[in-house]
């Protein structure tokens, strides 16, 4: 029996683990891959405080993991397949075992949202990508398309300028949502050409991506652009399959909590990208992880007194 089990080893989960381990709780963190989460896809992090020169996503997560382990956090590489609540008891079943815990911190993160258009699924691995930092080097001197208007989309376009000959950056509106600094960099980059008010309709090709069909949302005009790669960064979907029907979720499937990170079930907390909120950053995930760790400890104290 654990005091606290944390599911997910991104910034939110590792921070909760760090705080709980340091408080000498009997805590376990479960992660199906190597810890790090989505930050591992980030080439360079320049808005995490304490690193004025910036830091690579790898290094930042390696440091967070090392710091949590230094205080004794146990991290197990197991995939959680089922979560069950029976009164106050909480059971976590992984691909290897069933564990019981008094409190549970969910830090399962989010996954890339797909476009849901024709050709997208068929060409994953053959031109459709959700990770420029992984796949960019396969597109040396080629023409590609990037879809999306947020920070991630613009960062990935800028990263692709190292490899691709030309980047057609496609956005459904006529302005970006990304922070101004990133917008300025992208506008100053000759290789990036913005195509505004436009959405992708189909991804075309034979053995791999050859073109993308576009529709101008204002004029309705359909056009095609010859590209070898389509990079999709249109937001995320929460990894909340495990708790569907168990916890209150918002319309988009994110877990609803109060400002103490408490979900609709006592002793169950949710933090980071899977939580219903407006802003998803490493710095916010870390803060929520610390908060949930503290509230989980308080929950266990009250539990013992009663």
């Amino acid at each position: 029996m654990y005091d606290i089990i944390i599911i997910g080893g991104g910034p939110a989960g590792l921070t909760a683990g760090l705080y709980n381990a340091r408080a000498r709780m009997n805590v376990l963190l479960l992660e199906k891959f190597a810890p790090g989460g989505q930050v591992l896809n980030t080439d360079w992090v320049e808005n995490y405080p304490g690193f004025p020169e910036g830091v690579s996503g790898f290094e930042l997560m390696d440091r967070m993991k090392g710091q949590a382990e230094k205080f004794g956090l146990e991290i197990r590489s197991e995939e959680v397949v089922r979560v069950e609540f029976e009164g106050r008891r909480k059971f976590i079943t992984t691909n290897k075992e069933t564990l019981e815990t008094r409190a549970l911190i969910l830090a399962c993160g989010a996954s890339w949202k797909r476009l849901g258009i024709e050709g997208e699924s068929d060409f994953i691995g053959r031109g459709v990508s959700f990770c420029a930092t992984c796949d960019g080097p396969f597109y040396r001197d080629q023409e590609v398309a990037v879809i999306g208007g947020g920070d991630t989309a613009v960062e990935e376009s800028l990263f692709l300028t190292r490899f691709a000959r030309k980047i057609n950056h496609i956005h459904r509106r006529d302005e970006l949502r990304a922070v101004k600094l990133l917008q300025e960099r992208a506008m100053a980059e000759d290789k990036i050409k913005f195509i505004w008010d436009t959405v992708p309709e189909r991804i075309l090709g034979k053995d791999g991506v050859e073109a993308i069909e576009l529709r101008n949302v204002k004029t309705g005009e359909i056009s095609q652009k010859a590209v070898h790669g389509v990079f999709v960064f249109i937001g995320t979907v929460p990894n909340t399959e495990l708790v569907q029907g168990l916890l209150n979720l918002d319309d988009a499937g994110f877990v609803i909590t109060n400002d103490r990170m408490e979900t609709s079930v006592p002793g169950v907390f949710a933090v980071g990208d899977m939580r219903s909120k407006g802003f998803r950053q490493i710095s916010t995930a870390v803060g929520e992880g610390a908060c949930a760790a503290n509230r989980a400890e308080k929950y266990l104290e009250s539990f013992q007194e009663s």
Binding site: F33, G57, I124
Partner: protein
């Protein structure tokens, strides 16, 4: 940590195509975050299925011919071979359970 066999464009034919055992090749690169996420899973599988399957890794940065031959444009990509033929190709980070399912099909 297990020492995983590293294959190259030169050794691919002998180590993988001509292998008596079914093989799994993890195509990766140092720059790729999700590759780092799956590598501990691949290492575990190598240990657990030692003697039954051969697990290898190929650095796509050092070896350009083999990834191009299989049309690889995303990493991580895992290719499962049986009798030198491609039995299954998995693109992107997948949990251990789905990789194990594929391995079991090869045995």
């Amino acid at each position: 940590m297990v020492d995983i066999l590293q294959v190259t464009d030169d050794s691919f034919e002998d180590e993988i195509v001509k292998s008596d055992l079914p093989t799994v090749v993890d195509f990766w690169a140092a720059w790729c975050g999700p590759c780092r996420m799956v590598s501990p899973v691949v290492e575990e599988l190598a240990k657990e299925y030692e003697g039954k399957i051969k697990v290898a890794k190929m650095d796509v940065d050092q070896n350009r011919q083999t990834p191009a031959k299989f049309g690889i444009r995303n990493i991580p990509t895992l290719i499962f071979f049986k009798g030198g033929e491609v039995a299954k190709m998995i693109v992107g980070a997948q949990p251990k359970s789905s990789l194990e399912e594929e391995i079991k099909k090869l045995l």
